[in-house]
Amino acid sequence: MATKRKQRMIFVIILISGFAAATALALFAFQKNLLYFYSPSQLSSADVTEEQLFRLGGLVVEGSVVRLPDGITTQFGLTDTKGQVQVQYTGLLPDLFREGQGIVAQGKLNADGLFVAQEVLAKHDENYMPPEVAEALKEAGGQHPVSISKTMVE
C-alpha cells in the first residue's frame, strides 16, 4: 500500500509542478508580450511611450499614399473618421493594401508622432474589415463600417 501512495504522490507532485510552471510562464509572457490595439483617435489620449510596440488600426485615407524616393518606403494616413495618424512602412505592402481599405499596422511611434510600422496586415477579402477596426470605427461614430469600406473601395 505504501508504494501505491508513493506512486500517487509522484503523480500529483509532477502534475502540480508542471501546472505551476506553466502558470508562471504564461503570466510572465503575458506581461511582457501583450500588444495593445489603438485606433487613431484613441492614440492622442493613450499613454504610449516611444519604446512601446502596439497595433494601430483604421482606414487608409484616400489620396494619402505617398512613396518615398527609395521606392520601397511608403507613407500614408490612417483614420477612424475622427482622428488621423501618419504611418510609415518600409517594405512590400500586402496585396490588398489600398486607399480606403481597413488595415492593421504594428509598430512604434517615433519622436515626431510618426507611426513607424514593422508590419502591415490586410486580409485577402475585399469586404473584410479587421474586427478591431470595425469596432473602433463604430466607437468613433462613423457609419456602419462595412459600408464605408465598400463605398470607399468601389
Binding site: 509522484i10 501546472f19 506553466a22 503575458f30 520601397i72 512590400l92
Partner: protein, 653 residues
C-alpha cells in the same frame, strides 16, 4: 436532380446515424447480439450514403452547376478541374461535408477492421461514433446545407478564393480532418470503457493503433498547412501562431501525450484513467478547433464567413460532448485501478513528465488563443497575443521535453537508477554538445548560445533514439544473428526511432531557419542586382503572362552564386479574372540545405519593381521531420502485436 439526390443521401445518413447511435448501445446493455450487430451495418451504410452525397457535390462542381448556391459561390467555369474538385471543401458547407464523411469513414474502418473486437465493445464504440455523427449531420442539414439551390441559377460562379488555388490546399484539409476526426475513435473507445466499466488489455491493444493513425493524419495535415502558408502567403515563414494553426496544434500536443500514455497503459497496465481523460481531451480539442474555425469568433486567415447561429450550435454541441463525457468520467473513472507499480526513476515517471509537459504546453497555447475572447467578454482594452507570447512560453517548455525524449526510451520500466542512466547516456550527451558547438560554426562560421543549444538538443534526441534500438539488439544471446536480432525488435520501437529521429530533423530545420535566415526588400531596376546570403538575384525583366483563370505580370529573376547560374525564378503578380484581387505568387528554388524565395511587389516606375528575397536555410527539414514523425506513427500502428492478436482472435471465433 443530382443535388437533390445528395441532399436525400444526407438525410438517409442521418437516419442511419440515429439507428447506429441507439440500437447497438441498447443491445450491448441487454446483451442482445442481433441489436449489437446493427452497429456495423449502419456504420457501413452511413458511410456509403455520405460518400454518395460527397460525390453528388463534387459532380455539381465538375459540371459547373451554378444553380447550387455553394457551387456558384466557390467555383467558376475557368477554374481548372483539379481546383474545381478541391473547391468542394474550399468553404464552410463543403468542408463540413468532408468532416462528416471523414467521421463516417473512420466508423466504416472500425466496422471493417475490428470484426474480432469483443462484440459489446464494438457496439458501444460504433454507437458513440453514431452520436457524434448525429450532431454534425444535424448541424450540416440545419445550418449549412451544401445542396441549397440558387434561383434563378447564376450564369457564372464567383470563383474559388485565389489563396486556396494551390496544390497544398488540395490535400491539406482532408488530411487535417482525418486527423481531427480520427481521434473520435479513441474518444469512442474511452466512452465505451466508461460505460461498460471495463478496460482490459484487449481494450488498449485495440484502441492504440487507431489513436496512432489519427495522430499520423493530424501530423501530416498540420505539416501541409504550414507548407501551404510558406508557399502561398508570401511571408517566408512556416508557422505564425495563427489561431487556426493553434486550433490544430492543441489536439496534436494532447494527441502526442495520448499515444505515449497508451503505451504505458498497454505495457504496464497503469495510467488508465489518465489515458481515458486524455482521449476525451484530445477529441474535445478537435471539436474546439472546429468551433474556432467555423464560428469566426477568432480572426485568422482561415475564418470562413461567420454566422452566429453556426457558432452557437457548435458551442452547444461542444458543451454537450465535453460536459457529458467529463461527467461520465467523474462518475466511472475510479473503477480503473492500476495493477502495477513504479518508482520515481523509471520509464513510467519519464513518460508522465512528458505527458504533463505536453499538456501544459497545450494549455498555455489554449490561454493565448482564447485570451482575446476573455478580453471581449470582460470589456478590457483590446490587445492581441502574438508570436512573442507563444515563443516565450513554448520554447522553455519544449527544452525539458526534448531532453526527456532522449532519456525516456533508454530508461527501464518500473525502476531504474540515475547513475546507470547517466552512464548509458553520457557519451551521447558529450557528442551532442560537441555537435551543437561545432556544426553551426562549420556550416555558417558563426554560432550563438541558442543555436548551439537547439542543435545539441536535436543531436541528443537522434543519437539516443538510435541507441535505444541498438541497445535492444545488443542484449541478444550469442547464437542470434545480428540481422535477425534487428528483425526481432518490435515495430513499435522502430516507430519510436523514426518519430524521434524526425523530431531531431525538425528541430535542426527550425533552429537553422530561425538563426541563419536572411532577406531583403528593395526597389530593383531591370538589370539591377540584389545580393542576399551570398546569392546574386538579377531582375531580368517583367512581362505579362496568362494563366487559365488569371492574368499576371511575371518577373524573371536570375539567381547566381559565385558567378555560376543556379536557376531562374519566375515570381508573379496575378489578377484573377473573377475576384479581381491582386495575388502575389512567390517563386521558390527548393534545395536540401536552403530555399531561395522571390516575390514580386508593385511596379515603382516602368522598369523598376519592388522585390522581396528570402534565404531560408534548412527550411525543408521542418516538413521532412514531420513526414518522418508520421511515418513513425504508421510503423508503430503496424506492429505485429496488433495483427497477431487479430489473427488468433479470428481463429478462435
Amino acid at each position: 436532380m443530382i443535388p437533390e439526390i445528395g441532399h436525400f443521401a444526407l438525410v438517409m445518413a442521418l437516419c442511419l446515424a440515429i439507428a447506429q447511435a441507439s440500437i447497438p448501445l441498447i443491445g450491448a446493455s441487454t446483451n442482445n447480439a442481433n441489436w449489437m450487430a446493427v452497429g456495423r451495418s449502419t456504420a457501413i451504410g452511413q458511410f456509403l450514403f455520405l460518400l454518395l452525397a460527397f460525390v453528388c457535390l463534387a459532380y455539381s462542381f465538375v459540371v459547373n452547376d451554378f444553380s447550387v448556391l455553394y457551387v456558384a459561390n466557390n467555383s467558376n467555369t475557368e477554374l481548372p478541374i483539379y481546383y474545381r474538385i478541391s473547391a468542394v471543401w474550399g468553404a464552410h458547407e463543403g468542408s463540413l461535408l468532408l468532416w462528416v464523411l471523414a467521421l463516417a469513414g473512420w466508423g466504416f474502418a472500425v466496422a471493417i477492421f475490428s470484426r474480432s473486437l469483443p462484440q459489446d465493445l464494438l457496439a458501444r464504440v460504433l454507437s458513440v461514433m453514431g452520436m457524434i455523427s448525429i450532431g454534425f449531420l444535424l448541424f450540416t442539414l440545419a445550418t449549412s446545407n451544401p445542396f441549397d439551390r440558387l434561383f434563378p441559377a447564376a450564369l457564372q460562379g464567383r470563383d474559388l478564393n485565389p489563396l486556396l488555388q494551390d496544390p497544398g490546399l488540395v490535400i491539406h484539409p482532408p488530411m487535417l480532418y482525418m486527423g481531427y476526426v480520427g481521434f473520435s475513435v479513441a474518444f469512442a473507445f474511452a466512452i465505451a470503457a466508461l460505460i461498460s466499466g471495463e478496460m482490459d488489455s484487449a481494450w488498449v491493444r485495440w484502441s492504440r493503433p487507431w489513436a496512432n493513425l489519427a495522430w499520423v493524419f493530424l501530423t501530416i495535415g498540420i505539416a501541409l498547412g504550414s507548407w501551404w502558408a510558406y508557399q502561398e502567403l508570401g511571408w517566408g515563414g512556416w508557422w505564425f501562431w495563427d489561431p487556426v494553426e493553434n486550433a490544430s496544434f492543441m489536439p496534436w500536443l494532447a494527441g502526442t501525450a495520448l499515444i505515449h500514455s497508451l503505451a504505458v497503459t498497454e505495457k504496464r497496465s497503469t495510467f488508465k484513467s489518465w489515458t481515458i481523460l486524455l482521449s476525451i481531451i484530445v477529441f474535445s480539442l478537435s471539436l474546439l478547433g472546429t468551433f474556432l474555425v467555423r464560428s469566426g469568433v477568432l480572426v485568422s486567415v482561415h475564418s470562413f464567413a461567420s454566422d452566429p447561429a453556426r457558432g452557437v450550435y457548435i458551442l452547444g454541441f461542444l458543451a454537450l460532448v465535453v460536459g457529458g463525457s467529463l461527467t461520465l468520467y467523474a462518475w466511472r473513472a475510479m473503477r480503473f485501478s492500476s495493477t502495477s507499480q513504479y518508482e520515481i526513476v523509471s520509464k513510467e515517471t519519464m513518460l508522465l513528465v512528458n505527458n504533463v509537459l505536453l499538456i501544459v504546453a497545450m494549455l498555455t497555447i489554449l490561454i493565448g488563443t482564447l485570451y482575446p475572447l476573455f478580453e471581449d467578454a470582460l470589456g478590457m482594452p483590446k490587445s492581441s497575443v502574438g508570436p512573442p507570447y507563444f515563443d516565450a512560453v513554448f520554447v522553455p517548455l519544449m527544452l525539458p521535453l526534448i531532453f526527456m525524449m532522449a532519456v525516456g526510451p533508454v530508461a527501464k520500466w518500473r525502476r531504474d537508477k540515475l547513475k546507470e542512466l547517466f552512464s548509458r547516456l553520457k557519451i551521447f550527451a558529450i557528442l551532442a554538445v560537441v555537435v551543437g558547438g561545432v556544426l553551426p560554426l562549420a556550416i555558417y562560421g558563426n554560432n550563438t548560445m541558442m543555436t548551439a543549444i537547439g542543435i545539441a538538443a536535436a543531436a541528443w534526441v537522434m543519437l539516443s533514439s538510435i541507441y535505444a534500438v541498438v541497445r535492444l539488439v545488443a542484449k541478444r544471446d550469442a547464437q542470434t544473428a545480428l540481422l535477425k536480432a534487428y528483425a526481432k525488435v518490435p515495430k513499435a520501437m522502430y516507430g519510436m526511432l523514426l518519430a524521434h529521429f524526425g523530431m531531431g530533423i525538425f528541430i535542426i530545420g527550425v533552429v537553422f531557419t530561425s538563426s541563419f535566415s536572411d532577406q531583403a526588400e528593395q526597389a530593383v531596376k531591370v538589370g539591377e542586382k540584389l545580393t542576399v546570403a551570398g546569392y546574386d538575384f538579377t531582375l531580368e525583366g517583367v512581362a505579362p503572362a496568362k494563366g487559365p483563370n488569371y492574368d499576371a505580370m511575371r518577373g524573371s529573376v536570375r539567381v547566381e552564386k559565385n558567378e555560376q547560374l543556379l536557376t531562374t525564378l519566375l515570381p508573379e503578380k496575378r489578377i484573377y479574372n473573377v475576384q479581381r484581387n491582386a495575388m502575389t505568387e512567390a517563386s521558390i528554388h527548393t534545395g536540401v540545405f536552403a530555399d531561395l524565395y522571390v516575390a514580386l511587389g508593385e511596379p515603382i516606375t516602368l522598369d523598376e519593381w519592388g522585390l522581396r528575397v528570402y534565404y531560408r536555410p534548412f527550411i525543408q527539414w521542418i516538413w521532412l521531420g514531420c513526414l518522418l514523425m508520421a511515418l513513425g506513427g504508421i510503423v508503430g500502428a503496424l506492429d505485429q502485436r496488433y495483427r497477431a492478436q487479430r489473427k488468433t482472435k479470428s481463429v478462435n471465433a
